[in-house]
């Protein structure tokens, strides 16, 4: 006799029912009331006091309840649970605050001529309706494009070396790539200044900036690409070899196409890594306020540089510019991030 569907309806006996949740909820409410009361009668004041007292009262009351029901170990468990929850809350609060302040400050300065004008004829101290950041957008676009051309092939080929060739030096190169991902951005800028700008005919320009950014982008692309290539099942490689394909054919026609979405994700993550970098640009692009269509010559502007100038200038108008600039930069980064996530997610599903 087979079981009917009604009999096997899944149950989750370990989950607390609403009836069991009620005391927890009441205790939290009571601790909130208690903290308000304590703040009212003692000299303590401010949001900090509320948060602190609520944490203390909430943790204490919940753990005492657990102690009475299930003993000491359960009480310790309850305390740690609420500490972990508090820790996670403290981690996520700044993210919300950062997003909220950037949006609320940034949208005040948004207007269409931002995208059609440059700062050539306007000063940072002017109201934000004068001038725009077209030059910075063009600069950032150039920086991203050139960095991609430089670092994506190199990153993916390095990843192929680490996953497909696995030569005698693979472990060492892996180590080097990891070390490279820790190079401070300011050092990347200084290096390009000391090596390229001082000694070669290439002066401060978009391409010099892109060189510096590539140093930061290559390790990101390599590491993500490597992870993706490792996900390609070995059966596929063996199938290719069994059909008589050379390694080159196997990699080019089987492994790389199989990992295509992941490799695009690697590229996007690399771009997200460098799109907002400021420090290397301070040494390498010159930070022009003029529109410059030539990425190989003359000073270039960039969005982070625009924000940086606005912040350093320190007047209310220039700071408004900084917020608006960072909002546009943040939108760019968010778009890249979501794109990387969706592509990555699709790959996981198709597996």
């Amino acid at each position: 006799m087979t079981l009917s569907a009604a009999q096997v309806a899944p149950q989750k006996p370990w989950q607390s029912s609403p009836k069991e949740m009620a005391p927890t909820f009441l205790l939290l409410l009571a601790s909130l009331a208690a903290s308000v009361a304590v703040v009212a009668i003692t000299p303590m004041k401010g949001k900090l006091a509320y948060a602190f007292l609520f944490f203390i009262f909430g943790t204490a009351s919940l753990s005492i309840r657990k102690w009475r029901i299930r003993g000491r170990a359960a009480a310790a468990d309850a305390i740690v649970s609420s500490i972990a929850l508090t820790g996670a809350t403290l981690v996520f609060t700044p993210v919300i605050s950062i997003l909220a302040t950037t949006i609320s400050h940034g949208v005040k300065g948004l207007h269409w001529s931002l995208f059609t004008q440059t700062m050539f004829s306007a000063s940072y101290q002017d109201p934000i309706s004068a001038g725009g950041l077209l030059h910075a957008l063009v600069g950032t676009l150039y920086l991203i494009l050139i960095s991609m051309i430089l670092s994506v092939p190199m990153g993916i080929l390095t990843a192929l070396y680490l996953t497909e060739i696995k030569g005698p030096g693979a472990n060492f190169i892996q180590f080097i790539v990891q070390a490279m991902s820790g190079v401070p951005s300011v050092v990347a800028g200084l290096f390009i200044f000391a090596s390229i700008i001082v000694t070669t005919p290439i002066k401060a320009s978009a391409i010099a900036g892109a060189f510096a950014l590539s140093i930061l982008m290559i390790p990101t692309v390599t590491r993500t690409a490597q992870e993706v290539l490792l996900l390609v099942p070995n059966d596929l490689r063996e199938a290719g070899q069994a059909l008589g394909a050379t390694q080159w054919k196997t990699v080019a026609t089987i492994v790389v196409p199989a990992a295509r979405n992941g490799l695009i994700t690697a590229t996007i993550l690399g771009v997200a890594r460098i799109a907002g970098e400021t420090a290397p640009l301070l040494f390498t692009i010159g930070g022009s306020d003029k529109l410059n269509w030539n990425p190989f010559k003359d000073y270039q502007g960039a969005l982070p540089f625009y924000v940086w100038k606005g912040l350093l200038m320190g007047t209310p108008e220039s700071i408004q510019r900084a917020w608006t600039g960072i909002l546009i930069l943040l939108i760019l980064v968010l778009l890249l991030f979501v794109a990387a996530r969706t592509l990555g997610g699709r790959r996981m599903k198709s597996k």
Binding site: G87, M154, F191
Partner: protein
């Protein structure tokens, strides 16, 4: 009646790769080695350009507190370059960042690994990754306009109640742009990397041990205490060191919220600190000639410092991840 079939001529079997393969392997290996070349070149060029400074200043480049380039009326330039105060400041700020950031990251990683339902977990992990993708100048801007007013108040509280502890004392009650505030901003910036490394390591905890602990009647905390933490602690140390490397090299965000002063200051609440990376961009604007070289030398010091920390951190993390398999 069998027809005679000529036996197939013997084939030569070889393991020698074809030309296309040799080209492929050669190219990929060559590109793979490029990253080594780049890393070497970074060290080489910065050391080369900074060599003159190292020679003229000697060890006092690392221990001296003064950074001066004075041109007298007769046109003679007197230079004194020392990054001692900046190194002290860098370490101090990084320690504040670790002290605040690492416990929060570990708690957050535990929370994400063992407490959160799967659906919410995916979202929160994305948020942590997003934190890592925020531009550092965004942290600087936010730190200056949002965090600093709050942190100043916290600093006042610490000063009021804990000033008997030497590091919370201050020569004057001036708390703006202090190492404490810079450390807090950095703490938020290192949280994503420490959290994701810790999470990765906690997730590698052998499942049979976790289930054994539960089967013996352990609560969640007892399981974490007896299984997860002993297994993952060295990996967390590695993650913290990765964060430390990040904290040493961070530039723009620290510069935005720190008052760089060429003096050794151990009072974290007092608004005068140092930071090698911030000092470099502070001085870069007006630097000419020898001072530029000295700044490149400072960059070299920073490079070596972060490189060593990162290498140590990576090997620790790698070892822990391996021990779980």
């Amino acid at each position: 009646m069998a027809e005679k079939v000529a036996p197939p001529s013997p084939r030569e079997i070889t393991t020698k790769p074809r030309v296309s393969d040799r080209v492929f392997r050669g190219t990929v290996t060559g590109v793979g080695m490029l990253s080594l070349l780049i890393l070497t070149l970074i060290g080489l060029f910065l050391a080369l350009r900074g060599f003159q400074t190292f020679k003229s200043e000697g060890i006092s480049f690392l221990t001296g507190y003064k950074w001066e380039s004075v041109t007298s009326d007769s046109g003679k330039v007197t230079n004194v370059f020392g990054v001692g105060a900046m190194l002290i400041g860098t370490v101090l700020i990084a320690l504040v960042a670790l002290f605040v950031g690492v416990p929060l990251s570990v708690l957050c990683a535990l929370f994400l690994t063992f407490y959160v339902p799967d659906r919410l977990k995916k979202l929160l992990v994305s948020v942590v990754d997003l934190m890592a993708a925020f531009p550092s100048i965004l942290y600087g801007l936010w730190g200056y306009f949002v965090l600093m007013p709050m942190a100043e108040y916290w600093a006042k509280l610490l000063y009021k109640y804990l000033r008997w502890i030497p590091i919370f004392d201050a020569p004057q009650p001036f708390f703006e742009r202090s190492p404490f505030i810079a450390g807090l901003v950095l703490a938020i910036m290192i949280i994503p990397i420490v959290t994701s490394v810790s999470r990765e390591i906690f997730a590698q905890t052998p499942l049979d041990r976790i289930q054994a602990a539960y089967a013996l009647g352990a609560t969640r905390w007892a399981m974490i205490k007896t299984v997860v933490l002993p297994f993952g602690s060295s990996g967390v140390v590695g993650g913290a060191m990765l964060g430390l490397g990040r904290a040493f090299g961070e530039t723009v965000a620290v510069f935005s919220v720190l008052n760089v002063v060429f003096k050794a200051n151990f009072h974290i609440l007092y608004g005068a600190g140092g930071n090698v990376a911030s000092m470099i961009i502070l001085k870069w604007g007006e630097a000419v000639g020898d001072e530029t070289k000295a700044l490149l030398a400072a960059g070299f010091v920073l490079f070596v410092l972060t490189l060593l920390i990162n290498m140590a951190a990576n090997s620790i993390v790698k070892r822990t991840l391996k021990s779980g398999k």
